[in-house]
Amino acid sequence: MKTVSMFIPCTVDLFLPEIGEATYHLLERLGVDPIYHDEQTCCGQPAINAGFVKQARDVARHFIEVFGNDEAVVSPSGSCVCTVKHHYPELFCDEPVWFRRAEELAPRIFELSQYIVDVLGVEDCGASYPGRVAYHESCHVLRGLGVSEQPKKLIAKVKGAELVPLKFAETCCGFGGEFAISYPDISEAMVKEKCDHYLASGADVLLLCEPGCLLNIGGYLSRNHPGKKAMHLAQFLAGSGTGSTSSDGHGKEG
């Protein structure tokens, strides 16, 4: 049996653990043995984005120690995968030993939908959903990793689900980590527009592959349009019939 190591990002670990569970169940259903290193924490992205590279290096070294020996690592977050794949080698450009380890890890880490379609060669995950769905192209999934077809292929094979077009699907939702907190006026205008397009699309649920966007879009919907759902693709695919393992994008605490 093929094993794969799961990296569950800190946002998922702390605020959206049901996405982690969905990732596990989905991989297991696809005949993979998902393992989880209990020593894992965070990839260090917040420190890199804030400019604190020394601190980011400490966290990155820990990440490389934890995941360095895995054949394949999969994560339900495009931006965390980008961090490991693209930013780790840059972080260690002056430290040859760590640079080599970062370079070795980079090609072995995958975003979840990318892993399922490109590595496992699976498109039909055995899920069903009676309704219309829209897909938000998260920046780091689309432009960071070039992943766009994979999630759409997976959605296309969900029984009963109809993928409807989303206007400006490729435009940023306004999350950007510290950006959403430091520049709330601009961030709000961006997430409002994203949600307006989702409402106009007529979809019953908005799917995405990035927990950051989910916190932002889901948080805005929860406050302003409580009936409308945003959901991580992992939850959508892991569910059967309702398309979810929890009642809404935010889930209930376990």
Partner: protein, 477 residues
Amino acid sequence: MDIKTEQFVDVARKELKNDRNKQFLGVLPYGITISRQRSMQTFADPEAANDYGRAIRAEVIARLSELLEEFEKNAAANGAKIIWAETAAEANAFVLNLARERGVRYVTKGKSMVTEEMGLNDVLQENGIEPFETDLGEFIAQQLHRPPFHIVGPALNIPVEEISDLFIAKADMKEPTTDPVKLGYAARLYLRDKFHHLAMGITGVNMAVAETGSIINVENEGNIRLNKSSPRIQVSIMSLEKVVPTMADAMHMIRLLCRNCTGQKLSAYVSIDSGPKKSDEMDGPEELYIIILDNGRSKIYQDQQTREALRCIRCGACLAACPVYCKIGGYPYGWAYSGPMGQVLSPLLIGLDRTHDLFHACTLCGACKQFCPAGIDHPKMFLYYRMLEAQADTEQKGDFIPDKPAKLFDLWSWGAARAWRWKIAVKTMRPMMNYHAKDGVIRKTVAPLYGWFRTRDLPVMAKKTFHDRWTKIKKSR
């Protein structure tokens, strides 16, 4: 031109409330992006065309000093006079002195971002020499005393009624009109007059060709060509990164520039000057001065990372691509350069300490980088500036970041470097985070996160993290 980069947040807030802006920004940048993409498709291989352009800009950066020397030698051989200006003040002083020596009372100008950077208009005006902007948009912005809203379309956002009032007040127009053709004609009548008996015309430079010593201007109104062909003295000002190696390179960059700028395969006018009027020629300026402006760029060049900023060709594709620019427009950026290219350039030209918001007000979405025909990785630049700021790098004036975030990240990285510490931290944080939680949702919280909760909720910090849940999953396997 006053530098107002420190007012970014306030101006952005004001601009976000401007309904007309909202309507306008909701449509125009997308229109530009679509016509840009359509015109790029006229290349047999658009991606290869982009790659070629990026390679040319990379070569320029790699061979900058050598190319500038070659350009100087060849331009001088053509009869042009080359002036090296280390600072904006030096360049302004040269123009002013030249105008005084030659008894010039007014000058006309072609649209030029570098003269905005220098604040040339203010210097001339203060010294009694009237500068007339002759680009329609720049003329409007100048008369309204507004900074450019967009590096290519400086007055894109001004309502037509306001322009009509302005032209009646300042450009001899007789009757109000909203007809763009009539407005254009009024400006033309007013400005054409300035070109008669013109002593000095000032322009920017889109490209300076090292191989031939020629300078190239790209435009749609013909005013730059008039600025260069009608006066006795032509002064063309370039920032030093405008040089390209060969005429073939320049031709390719023009193809990319026009497509990315306005979605045109070629602009209405492209003029190439190689020296002033020769003895056997009928027209052209008697004297041609080319000012090569440094203004801090040599210092920018010293650093392998910051020198990447010098790739920029000022096409403006990144503005239309930027989701932040598309919400707030050009004014919040507070200086000559706006949008992602301004966020890359301004911090290096005026210091990180005065431009904090420029390199932080970005979601790192990467849309600018994706479009950039010059190969700039804008998000990477911003991360680099943030790093210099965090390290209090004095070279780029990144010396003001408070201690608090640094200590916070020290603590955070210490906690994230071992899972047992992480788990203790989570346990400690949870009650604080969930203090206001209700029905699994946090609707308000403590001060530092206030910005998030004005219009957004957050799920509660889970009682059982995935770490905790894994223990249960593991047992059931």
